[in-house]
Subunit: 80 residues, 2 copies
């Protein structure tokens, strides 16, 4: 089972993308953890270290980050 983390910040773009991702992903192959960085601010640093530059973004186990459309920059989330 592969793991993936969807980082978002509750913005309209984030919510729409979250629904799309959960529709697309194969639950038998990939376990998606959804992290709201606005509510769980302790994980902003982890997201930044993983290469997340904006939200929503999907970090895939193995290191690739998919930035999905553009909701907000990580900088904005840090200041929010």
């Amino acid at each position: 089972m592969k793991k993936a983390i969807l980082y978002h910040a509750g913005c309209p773009v984030c919510v729409s993308v979250e629904q799309d991702i959960l529709t697309l992903v194969d639950p038998a192959k990939v376990e998606v953890e959804v992290v709201h960085l606005g509510q769980d601010r302790t994980r902003i640093f982890e997201a930044e270290r993983a290469g997340v530059q904006s939200v929503p973004a999907l970090l895939i186990e193995g290191g690739n980050v998919l930035h999905l459309n553009f909701g907000a920059s990580l900088q904005d989330v840090k200041q929010g």
Copy 2:
């Protein structure tokens, strides 16, 4: 079965994202068509009309477009 179209242009970002998407997607729920706009230029107009602004992008049946990272603008693909 939902349909999705992954538009790309053969760039390194596109190739990497294509692999990630094919890993994530549930083949029982979603059928992904991969379209190389550099080779299949007749479909550029269709992509543009669907709201694709850059590649790689995933158009999901129902209308949502996920722009995944940034490989090239559609404008660049048109001129390429």
